[in-house]
Symmetry: C2
Subunit: 247 residues, 2 copies
Amino acid sequence: MVKTLKPEEDAYGQEIWAYYQGREVSEVVERDDGYIDPYASGPKAYFAEFEDWPSHHRLAMDFVRGSVLDIGCGAGRHSLFLQKKGLDVLGIDNSPLAIEVSKLRGLKKARVMSIEDIKFKSGSFDTIVMMGNNFGLFGSYEKARKLLEKFHEMTSRNARLVAETVDPYKTDNPDHLRYHRHNKERGRMGGQVRIRIRFRKYVSRWFDYLLVSKEEMKKILRGTGWEINQFIDSDNAQYIAIIERMS
Amino acid sequence: MVKTLKPEEDAYGQEIWAYYQGREVSEVVERDDGYIDPYASGPKAYFAEFEDWPSHHRLAMDFVRGSVLDIGCGAGRHSLFLQKKGLDVLGIDNSPLAIEVSKLRGLKKARVMSIEDIKFKSGSFDTIVMMGNNFGLFGSYEKARKLLEKFHEMTSRNARLVAETVDPYKTDNPDHLRYHRHNKERGRMGGQVRIRIRFRKYVSRWFDYLLVSKEEMKKILRGTGWEINQFIDSDNAQYIAIIERMS
């Protein structure tokens, strides 16, 4: 089932589009417990050049090789860097405006596609990139495992995932700690945050975004044909996992 | 009728309190048409020292004299500056936490009081300060005129208002322009924005905040016993009016 995003729901894309047009832009994330969080550096960061990336992003790029799928490519910052390095990159995003901007910025292969609708033939990719906390697009424990199996089918023998997330438990914010507890009580992962993006009058649909600790990530991977090779830490709760395909 | 603010409604005060405690803080303003606007510099600006104020704020302070009422004093930045200059200042705010912080920062006279509940005996003040766009607290044309008459009664013969606002029409944002039109269609002033403050899980009540052009301000003042002496412009749509009491 392909979910078509209506323009007024594409808050994320509208924000990227406005920033691309040179306008002052800021993103707000609203969680389903009413918590509101402006992500001031958001739009600017989505357009940052390699030399301005945080060091764990820069380090992670060394692990990307071959034919690359960049899931949730946004304005294309990672895809464009990798394309310039000579890799064969396809950027996908469920936001039509984000894909439009990626193309305008020079990304040759960019396609509107949500993670749920991914379908490629076996051996299509050597690396799957999920930067910008996009491990979160897995959404839930079950969905992550199902998608990891699908990723196994469509990648080459020695494929890799380069995926970023946030350890949700590295916080002392009482609202977050309460939210994690409430999530667990209702049978969700602690960091399975139900959020929507707001930008000016644009409001995205509610969606689940999955933030996991390293231990939780290991549990998710168990038996899916993927295993952690190493973690690249940042100076905050974000980290990147280099995940290798087994056999 | 005194409206008591419940702690969970005091989003503005909670934000000031959190910033005072050294936490990372940002304010979000939500308008009743769904427009969302993070005010990133908000909390920091509320605590800024004189030398970091925008120049129109610094210039306006030269017009403040005698016994001063600071309406919507927030974290007390203007009140504290004026108190240090030797003026007799009373800061009021409808936020209990803002008043708490003002007191902790050294403001001697600070009281929880909303603009609707202001009541002082005649000749109590020589200057009324409404900085930080707090002309907006007048809320509407009618309420502004009623309060201006009350202010006339409780001030001395040569009293002044030093009041800041934003010219709402100095924008090319189509959402704002549409909102102004819609306001006028329903008999409100163009810049009579119905908003609420959100900070983390705290949500204020909806309230009307009045942004006016210079011409609109003049119309509001007509026949109230107050008149413009001069305007102090900023480098954006904000401006300060120096308003003198007639007779």
